[in-house]
């Protein structure tokens, strides 16, 4: 087992390396002199010269990459052009907010998804199945940013039950687990949960239908629809894959939160990304993407290992 973990870790390293190269090159594929991407347009000549030296823009690409990696490993992700603050500091704050949102959304999505998926798979081809499947297909087809807007229209604008934007009264960055703050979390989390709900539902449906068709003939099922033995068997066999899917969905949400966070002005990494794009703040863009991508890679590895621990038959190449 430990060997497997180490092996997977070892295979992840080249991928992580590749990811870092892609992130590094982002600044360089931007049109124009890379220097203008990392500095405000009115920077002094002295500042430009300093930056050129720090980033090493006049050195060969490999050296630049090396310098960048070294800086990153030391925690220095550059300085945001717009705010002048270190990127790492901005990220730390934002990451916590996004994690909160993404974890909650994943949990909601997972629970609902399992529910719908199980019902659909258990009562396969019945009207319950069609209904549950329809709900899950909506989940994967709806543009979630639009759904967010619709929910805001219904619950904020028309009914005025929940706030439309921000993470707290006055859009504060300090969080507390009280109703005043949590009510800001509800709409974005529910909106975000729709995609994992859809995907988990579809996966669970397929799993459940598959497991049931393997072991049990209709006669046995007619005996006890909610026979606890059957239920436990299904859960035991479906759990590893379902949990793996949930883990991956968490990763996607972490990485893809920008759309929802933009709609709700939720101060997370996605929102930060949106700002960075709008202001053409490339150090912030680059740093955020690097962190999020690495998070995703690490999460993938974790999911892989946990899945194999739970079900040794599964070994993803």
């Amino acid at each position: 087992m430990l060997v497997y973990v180490l092996k997977r870790l070892f295979y992840t390293l080249p991928v992580a390396f590749g990811v870092s190269v892609v992130c590094f090159l982002l600044v360089h594929i931007a049109p124009g002199d890379p220097l203008t991407s990392v500095l405000p347009p009115d920077a002094s000549a002295q500042l430009q010269a300093d930056m050129r030296k720090i980033y090493g823009f006049d050195r060969p690409l490999i050296v630049q990459y090396g310098l960048w990696v070294l800086k990153t490993l030391q925690g220095d992700l550059g300085v945001s052009i717009a705010t002048g603050r270190p990127v790492a500091a901005e990220l730390r704050l934002a990451l916590g907010n996004t994690l909160m949102l993404a974890v909650l959304a994943t949990l909601i999505g997972f629970v609902l998804g399992c529910l719908f998926g199980f019902v659909a798979g258990y009562f396969r081809d019945s009207w319950l199945d069609k209904l549950a499947s329809f709900v899950s297909i909506i989940g994967v087809s709806v543009p979630h940013y639009w759904l967010g807007m619709v929910l805001v229209i219904i619950f904020s604008v028309q009914l005025n039950w929940l706030p439309a934007t921000g993470a707290g009264p006055g859009g504060s960055a300090d969080w507390a687990w009280d109703w005043v703050h949590v009510r800001h979390l509800i709409l974005p989390a529910v909106t975000m949960s729709v995609i994992p709900m859809g995907i988990v539902a579809r996966t669970v449906r397929a799993l459940v239908a598959d497991i049931l068709s393997q072991e049990f003939i209709t006669g046995q099922r007619a005996k006890g629809l909610l026979d606890s033995g059957v239920f436990r068997h299904v859960v035991k066999n479906a759990a590893p894959t379902a949990l793996a899917v949930m883990g991956l969905q968490l990763g996607y949400l972490l990485g893809g939160s920008i759309l929802i966070e933009t709609v709700f002005s939720w101060p997370g990494t996605g929102f930060l990304l949106g700002q960075a794009i709008f202001q053409r703040d490339l150090p912030l863009l680059q740093g955020t993407i690097l962190v999020l991508a690495m998070f995703f890679v690490a999460l993938n590895l974790l999911v892989d290992v946990v899945q194999t621990m739970l079900d040794p038959r599964v070994q993803r190449a």
């Binding site: 807007m149 619709v150 604008v157 239908a209 996607y252 920008i258 759309l259 933009t262 999020l292 991508a293």
Partner: protein, 293 residues
């Protein structure tokens, strides 16, 4: 939703009668046929926009901005610059569909080429190609699209480029997987034993059997691409104002939700309808492909 994997279909039964059988089965699926109709309607709407659209999509009058649905002369209301929503929605189909379908289309060709080459040649070539693909696959798709678009800058071309790059890896992976499965079958071995070149074998024996499953997989990606493409425009990347495009319209109408909420929600509804239709069609296609049912 079927349990038949793409590998099974590629290896087990793609004789010439197979695909006509698939289409026939698909034709008997009411949900899929309805979805197909909706898609066709959208396409026709996009193609004949100048003939159907009642007004000019670019001209608006600030005096009549944000009128509600059902306003005489503006059946679906007006947007924040006083332009007719119905016309903008109809014209919006053009760019939205273009940005949604084109990346998948191009990625289908490039991804298939990469995957089939890696799958057939195996060994070091496979490792190099697929590891590179894996690096891009290691990014969540939204993040990669935004990273590339963000770095390249806004614009239709940059948006198309970013999205194409996002969709190449998943297609390449499926193509490699399917090709590797087919390569092991005896008729490919017999072809190799005949002394044919790799290119000939791929052309005669491999391509016909793998391209179908890969294509069906690619069509399943279109709905995601639509949402992602509109999402890019929603963020200010991709399509730029004043072009009509559903995602961009959602962006510019965001603040209008306090004034004319349902008008502001209309473009998203269009994206939703189109996306779900593609999904239903794709599901129907996969069910029809299932050899066991």
């Amino acid at each position: 939703m079927s349990s038949a994997s793409f590998e099974t279909i590629a290896t087990e039964g793609t004789s010439p009668g197979y695909w006509s059988g698939v289409l026939r089965r698909l034709g008997r699926d009411p949900v899929a046929m309805f979805a197909l109709l909706v898609i066709l309607a959208m396409v026709l709407m996009a193609v004949f926009a100048p003939l159907i659209g009642p007004a000019d999509p670019y001209r608006g009058q600030m005096l009549r901005r944000l009128r509600p649905i059902g306003t005489p002369g503006f059946p679906l209301g007006t947007d924040e610059l006083g332009r007719d929503m119905l016309t903008r929605l109809i014209y919006g189909a053009r760019l939205s569909l273009l940005m949604g379908v084109t990346p998948v289309f191009i990625a289908f060709f490039i991804g298939s080429a990469i995957g089939i080459t890696a799958g057939y040649l195996g060994g070091k070539v496979n490792t190099v190609l697929m590891r590179t693909v894996d690096v891009f696959f290691a990014f969540p798709s939204v993040l990669l699209a935004i990273a590339l678009s963000g770095a390249l800058g806004a614009g239709i071309f940059n948006g198309l480029l970013s999205l194409t790059i996002v969709f190449i890896p998943p297609i390449a992976r499926i193509a490699e997987s399917v090709t590797t499965a087919v390569r092991k079958i005896e008729y490919v071995e017999a072809a190799r034993a005949s002394g044919a070149s790799a290119l000939t074998i791929v052309r005669v024996h491999v391509l016909g059997n793998v391209i179908g499953p890969i294509f069906v997989y690619a069509t399943g990606l279109i709905s995601v691409s639509l949402i992602l493409a509109s999402g890019l425009s929603f963020l200010g990347l991709g399509v730029k104002p004043p072009e009509p495009e559903w995602g961009l319209m959602l962006n510019t109408l965001r603040n209008a939700i306090y004034v004319q909420p349902w008008v502001a929600a209309l473009p998203g509804a269009m994206i939703f309808i189109t996306s779900i239709s593609f999904n239903l069609l794709s599901d129907g296609l996969r069910s029809a492909m299932d050899l066991k049912s």
